[in-house]
Amino acid sequence: MKRIVVLGGYGIIGKIVVYDLFKTNKNCEIFVVGRNLEKAEEYANSFNSPRVKAKKTNIQNKKELVSLIKGSDVVVNCVQYYFNFEIMKACLKAKTNYVDLGGLYHLTKKQLKLHRYFKKIKKLAILGCGSSPGITNVLVAYGSKLLKKINEIEIFFADKDETKYEQKFVLPYSFKTLVDEFTLKPAVLKKGKIRFVKPMSGEKIYYIDGFGKKRAFLTLHSELATLPSFLKDKGIKDIEFRVTFDDDFIEKIKILIENGFTSKENLNLSGQKLKIIDVTSNLMEKFIVNQKTKIKDKEILRVIFNKGSLFLDAITKTTRNISAGSYNTGVPCSIITQMISENKGLLKKSGVYAPESIINPKEFFSELKKRGIIILKNKKRVN
C-alpha cells in the first residue's frame, strides 16, 4: 500500500485530488491534511473508508510537517503557493517525492534550484501539475515532437460559464493568487530573452469556437519559467501567456486593487493590527461557489505554435458538479502523483522537473481521456 499525503486536502483543489486518487487507485492510502482537523475529518469521513485519514498540521512548523510526511510516497501540495519552497525542504528531510500546482514563476525558479538535492535522495519533485501550469506544459511537450522548429508560442485559457448563479460574483480560485495575476509584472519571452512587462498589458481579443469573444491580458505564469530552456533547441524566440476573464469580472477586481483593498499594509481594526489583503481575502471567500449551485461550464486551454500553424487544445466540462476550471486543475495532479507512486509514464527517475521534461504525453493524455478531458490537435481528437 502506497501512502499519499495531500496538504490542503479539504481545499477547492485538494478535495478533487483526494477524490480522484481514491477512485482511480485502490493501491494507496490518503492523508487529508490541513490546519483545521474538523474540516479534514469531515471530508475524510465522507469516503467512509479506512484508506482515507484526516491529519492536522501547521505547514509553517517544519518539525511537525516532517514527522507527518515521513514514510509517505508522495506529498501533494495543494496549499497557497507561497509555502512551496519550505514544503519541498521538508520533503528533502523526510525523503519523499513531491508534487505541486505551480509557483507563479518566481517561486518556480527558486524551487528548480533544489534539483541536485532531490537527485541526491533519489526522489522526484514535479512542479506545476494542474491545468496551467500542468496540462499546458505537456501540450507543449507533445507539440515539440510534431514540429522541427518552434519560434513562437502563445498560451491562454478561457472559460464559458452557463451556470445560473444566485450570487452576484463568483471567485474561481484563491483570491490572493488572482490578485497576484492582476498585479505582478508578467514575464514574456521576447527575441529569446525574458522580459517583465506592465501588469495587465498586452491586451488581446480571442474569438474561440464554442466560447465566444474573450478579453485577454498578459499575466505572470510558471510556464515561462521552464518552457524557454525546454524549447531552446527548437529555436524558440517568443512566448506569451495570457489569462482571459469577462469584462465585468476584470472591472470588479481592478476596483478592489485600485482602491487599496489588496494592500499588504496593516490596518488597526478593533484594537488589532490586521493586513488589509487578509481581511479582503476572507471577505471574498463567500464568493466561492456554493456546493448546492448546479454548475454548467467548460474550459479551454490552448497552445498556439508558430502563429497558428499548429494549435493544441485541452477541453474540460463540468464534472460531478465541479467547475471545469477546478476539475482540470485537480485531476492532472492526481494523475502525476500516481505516475510517481506507480512508477509509470515518467522519463526520468529523480530530480526537480516541470511536467514538459518528464511526463510522457501519450500516457498522460490517455489518463485525461478516462476523466473526460479531451485533447485536440488542430480541432481533431488525439486522445
Binding site: K168, F169, E251, K252, I255, L256, E258, N259, G260, F261, S263, E265, L267, N268, L269, S270, Q272, L274, I276, D278, V279, N282, L283, M284, K286, F287
Partner: protein, 382 residues
C-alpha cells in the same frame, strides 16, 4: 470652561471642516470624537479643544454638553446618533443643528417638535448642502410662486481627475444606495426600487451625468412645508460621476457595505468599518479639483401662468481648502447656520428643516462670503 460651540463628530470629515470655519471667525469650540489623531492641525489653534466621547453612551453626551456649556450644539456625527443627541439637548436645554437623517431618522426627529417647543429650544435638522442649501433655495423659489406642483432636486458633482476619492460619509452613501427610496408622487408617498437610474441630465459646469433615485430627507420635509401650495410631486436625484459610482456599486455588489461581523484570525470585524478605513487611506491626487452643482427645479404657476424656477448653487474646490474638495458646502454651511442661531438670527422654537426658518437673503450672503454662489434661472443672486 465655556465654549461657543460643541461639535459632535468633530474628528470626522464634515466636523473638522465646520470647526475650521468657526475657528476662522474666532469662536471657541470643543471637538468631540473618538480619536483626535485626524485633527492635530485644528487642535494647534488655542481656541479649539478635544474631548473623547462615546456617542453610544447617552450619559457621556449629556456630560460633554454640560461641561462645555455651548450656545449651540452642532452634530456632524453619523446620522444614527441624531435622536440620541437631540434628547441630550432637550435635557440640557441647548439648541442643536445636524446634517440630516435621510428619511426614516428625519421622521423620528420631527416627533420631538412639541417637546422642543415646550422647552423653547430649536432643533434645525439638515443644515449641510443637501439637505441644507437646497432647502433654502427651494423655499426662496416657492415663495415667488402662487402654486407649486412639482419639485425636482438633487446634486451632481465631478472631478478633473477621474480617481475615486471618498465623496462624503461612506456609511451615508451606502444607506442611500441600498435603502428603497420614497418619492412623493401625485400627493402620495411611493416606495421605489432602490437607487435605480432615472436618466441622464445635463448639468451646468458638470456636463451630462446619469442620475439615481435615492432616499433623502428633503422628500419628507418639502411635503410637510409646501403642501399648502398644492405640491404633488417631489423627486430626489443623485448624480455621481461614473468613476465614483462604479466603485460604490462594486463595493455594494461584493457586500463590503455589510453591517455584519466577520472573524479574521480570531478578531471580530464589522465589514463596513473595515471598508471605510481602507477607503480613508485613499489620498487625493495632486491638483485634484471638484465641482458640485446643488440644484432644484420648481414647477408651478404665477398669476395664472405656468412658471419654472431653476435654482443652482455651484461649489468648487476652494483655495486653501483643497483637502475638503466640494465638501465645504456641507461642513461650512452647518457652521454658518449654527452661527446664525448663536447671533439670534433664527428665533423659532421646535424641530424644523431649513426651508421653514432660515432667512434666505442673509443665508445666501453668508454662502457668497465663502464663494458658494447661488443662481436663479442662470443668474447669480448672491
Amino acid at each position: 470652561m465655556k465654549y461657543d460651540f460643541i461639535i459632535f463628530g468633530g474628528t470626522g470629515f464634515q466636523g473638522s471642516i465646520c470647526a475650521r470655519d468657526l475657528l476662522e471667525n474666532n469662536y471657541k469650540i470643543l471637538l468631540v470624537g473618538r480619536d483626535k489623531s485626524s485633527i492635530s492641525n485644528i487642535l494647534k489653534n488655542k481656541n479649539a479643544s478635544f474631548m473623547k466621547v462615546d456617542l453610544t453612551n447617552y450619559k457621556e453626551i449629556v456630560s460633554a454638553i454640560k461641561k462645555s456649556n455651548p450656545d449651540v450644539v452642532i452634530n456632524c456625527a453619523e446620522l444614527v446618533f441624531n435622536v440620541q443627541i437631540m434628547k441630550a439637548c432637550l435635557e440640557t436645554k441647548k439648541p442643536v443643528t445636524d446634517l440630516g437623517g435621510l428619511q426614516k431618522i428625519t421622521e423620528q426627529q420631527f416627533k420631538f417638535h412639541k417637546k422642543f417647543q415646550e422647552k423653547e429650544i430649536l432643533c434645525l435638522t439638515g443644515c449641510g448642502s443637501t439637505p441644507g442649501i437646497v432647502n433654502v433655495m427651494t423655499a426662496y423659489a416657492v415663495d415667488k410662486l402662487d402654486s407649486v406642483e412639482t419639485i425636482k432636486l438633487g446634486f451632481a458633482w465631478n472631478s478633473n481627475i477621474k480617481k475615486f476619492v471618498i465623496p462624503y460619509s461612506m456609511p451615508s452613501i451606502f444607506h442611500e444606495f441600498t435603502e428603497d427610496p420614497v418619492t412623493f408622487h401625485n400627493g402620495k408617498f411611493v416606495r421605489e426600487k432602490r437607487a435605480r437610474c432615472v436618466g441622464e441630465v445635463n448639468f451646468k459646469e458638470i456636463g451630462k451625468q446619469k442620475v439615481y433615485c435615492i432616499v433623502h430627507s428633503e422628500v419628507y420635509t418639502f411635503s410637510k412645508y409646501f403642501r399648502n401650495k398644492g405640491l404633488k410631486n417631489i423627486h430626489y436625484m443623485a448624480g455621481f460621476p461614473e468613476h465614483s459610482f462604479k466603485v460604490i456599486q462594486t463595493l455594494i455588489d461584493l457586500g463590503f457595505n455589510s453591517e455584519e461581523e466577520i472573524e479574521v484570525s480570531g478578531n471580530k470585524i464589522k465589514i463596513v468599518d473595515f471598508t471605510n478605513k481602507v477607503l480613508k487611506k485613499i489620498k487625493q491626487p495632486k491638483n485634484y479639483r471638484e465641482v458640485e452643482n446643488i440644484w432644484a427645479e420648481i414647477y408651478g404657476t404665477k398669476n395664472g401662468k405656468d412658471k419654472l424656477v431653476k435654482m443652482n448653487c455651484l461649489v468648487r474646490t476652494l483655495k486653501g481648502w483643497e483637502d475638503a474638495g466640494s465638501n465645504i458646502d456641507t461642513g461650512r454651511t452647518i457652521a454658518l447656520i449654527s452661527e446664525m442661531i448663536k447671533k439670534g438670527q433664527i428665533k423659532d422654537k421646535g424641530v424644523y428643516a431649513p426651508e421653514a426658518v432660515v432667512p434666505q437673503k442673509l443665508f445666501f450672503n453668508e454662502l457668497a462670503k465663502r464663494k458658494m454662489f447661488v443662481y436663479e434661472n442662470g443668474k447669480r443672486i448672491n
